[in-house]
């Protein structure tokens, strides 16, 4: 439903965007660094490129530097070093021009409690010379029923949709969403995803941060995995998953794993040599195997464990996800 409304309310959309001669690259940053006053290095030489019309996901655990990166790109924080180019321009010289063309949803914004949905949108709309129709925006984020409800009476999902609506009401060509669905129920998340996909369909570019893998896989054309303020991998979700070399993950728990690390590593290495197994690690109390042929690997693994007299406590398999990519790259889970 949200999609239909979006299609009938295009705002200035494609025709205008094309006439502006928008550059092929929406965001380009090179060697981005940010050191806070207390000496904490939040971003440490980060490179990033978001192409026009794509949805790019920044993936990483809490504290990886996602929000700092996004706020620098939004022109809200000064970088300590590196270059940033948004829509082919720079914050230092073209702030007003850029502000008219980007939409921002911060990680947490508490909009005024006593303003209604409509009043809030009217306020945000008034800051832009050109923008979307208020009614169309309300329909786009499916808040028609709550049009006259005050912010403090809205549910978490409705608040978040209003926050995104405030980002869209200026009819941006580039949208920044910092953890847009954190803490929301599945239905609210899906409603927000529809809004983002509708925006992309109209030719908009999106940079979003998330630590939900399903969100990244559903929305993002490409993702960048960041850790400790650096980009450690960039690609489409499929490319990143394929880079694991196998499409299945097998997790094995044994009743009494070897106590010494060296022995555990040796066991992991021997499991990796089995047919059908691509790689193997000991992580989080269990052996995690990346497998390209499950039907070949599984009997071999069970046989190997039996030969070593190791009692199997638990075994599970799943299709490889971005989460596994992250664990493989960093040795840590995303939400540890």
């Amino acid at each position: 439903m949200a999609l239909e409304h979006a299609a009938t309310a295009p705002g200035r959309s494609e025709a205008l965007r094309a006439s502006r001669g928008a550059p092929e690259v929406s965001i380009r940053c090179k060697g981005l660094r940010k050191t806070y006053e207390d000496g904490v290095v939040a971003v440490d030489g980060l490179d990033l490129e978001v192409r026009r019309g794509e949805c790019f996901g920044l993936l990483g655990p809490n504290g990886a530097g996602k929000t700092t990166t996004v706020e620098i790109l939004e022109g809200l924080l000064e970088p300590s070093g590196g270059e940033v180019e948004i829509l082919g321009r720079r914050w230092e010289t073209d702030e007003r021009w850029l502000r008219e063309r980007i939409g921002v949803s911060l990680q947490e914004t508490h909009l005024p409690d006593k303003l209604t949905v409509r009043e809030t949108l009217e306020l945000f709309r008034s800051f832009f010379v050109e923008g979307r129709d208020i009614d169309a925006t309300i329909d786009l984020v499916a808040l028609r029923e709550k049009e006259h409800a005050k912010f403090d009476t809205l549910s978490g999902g409705q608040r978040q949709r209003l926050a995104v609506a405030c980002a869209l009401v200026g009819d941006p060509t580039l949208l920044f969403l910092d953890e847009p669905t954190t803490g929301l129920d599945p239905q609210s998340r899906r409603m927000l995803w529809d809004v983002v996909l509708a925006f992309k369909e109209q030719g908009g570019s999106v940079l979003l941060t998330t630590h939900y893998m399903d969100e990244a896989e559903r929305l993002c054309d490409r993702v960048g995995v960041i850790d400790h303020g650096k980009t450690i991998a960039v690609g489409t979700p499929k490319e990143l998953i394929d880079s694991l070399g196998g499409s299945q993950i097998v997790e094995i728990e044994v009743a009494r794993p070897p106590a010494e690390e060296a022995a555990r590593d040796a066991l992991a290495a021997s499991l990796a040599r089995l047919p059908g197994v691509v790689s193997s690690r000991f992580h989080g109390g269990r052996f995690v195997l990346t497998v390209d042929q499950l039907h070949v690997a599984l009997p071999a693994v069970l046989e190997a464990l039996r030969a070593r007299n190791l009692e199997l406590a638990n075994l599970s398999t799943h299709r490889a996800t971005l989460e596994d990519v992250f664990v493989t790259l960093t040795g840590r889970a995303l939400r540890e």
Partner: protein
Amino acid sequence: MSDVERRARMRAIVQLALARFRIFYREPGSMFWTFGFPLVLSIVLGIAFRDRDPEPVVVAVEVAAEDARARAEHAREILARSDDVKVKVMSPEEASAALRTGKVSLVVTPSTDGYAYRWDPTRPESRLARSVTDDVLQRGEGRQDAYEPTSSIVTEPGSRYIDFLVPGLVGLGLMSTGLWGIGFALAEMRTKKLIKRLVATPMRRSDFLLSFLLVRALLLPVELAPLLAFAWLVFDVGVRGSFLTLGITALVGALTFAVMGLFFACRADNPHVVSGLINIVSFPMYLCSGVFFSSSRFPDAVQPIIGLLPLTALNDALRATMIDGAGLADVAGKLGVCATWGIVCFVLAIRLFKWR
């Protein structure tokens, strides 16, 4: 700036001001502190310090021995004839106890050739009682007045406590709504990351700050009218100067304190810091700036400092306008002191304001 941009900017200022209005009137607390509190305060203080008719002095006539009873009764009769004296006959013990506890101000004892008075000269009411009682008794016993005095009784309008109090409450109200209304609101917006969110739009920062001052100025008449009307209807407190002068004085005061609120909140990350700052700054002014009693009661040494406080200047200007009927030229100096605070705070606030 093109026409389109200018129109867009007008729309932004109107929307920012509208938002402030809505947030204000939808918050019952802010409504009470702005409108209700000054009214309640003026009622309570007006009643406590209302003017009363002069009260009669209370004296005791003591009967030391039975044979003196007739003399005592005679004195009582003389005194009872006067409206200015309330008199009782008591035994010496009762009389002493009544004097000690302040129930009577003077004890009259018949003596051989007249009357003796027992009283405490450190008590003003005793001195008054001594003078009134002596006068009444002397005349009662046959003293002739040298002449018949004529007197005309004058009640100076504007000399009552309530006349003094109302301008002080107006000043206090302007200070509180300015400092708290704006300082607190801004700090809260920063805590909620709303300022950061607004700065991420093309909103002009000057429009944002302007909207606070604009709303303050627009709310001013709505805020003053009930208090002034109430003071006029209930306590007969009028405005002797022109309403224009009063309006300009109030506007200068309101904007000065609004800007000071802006300044106190220009860097604070949470409302507690701001409320601490505002308390530190406003408490001395509650006491010293002549809200409830005249600032001239403080020692001469500190008078120059007190005179430079913004609330003192504002209160002086308000009183001059309301009580003495002063014109704009007469209060210009005081308004200048007030406005200087405003301008200094404004420059500092703009320089130091934390937008992100």
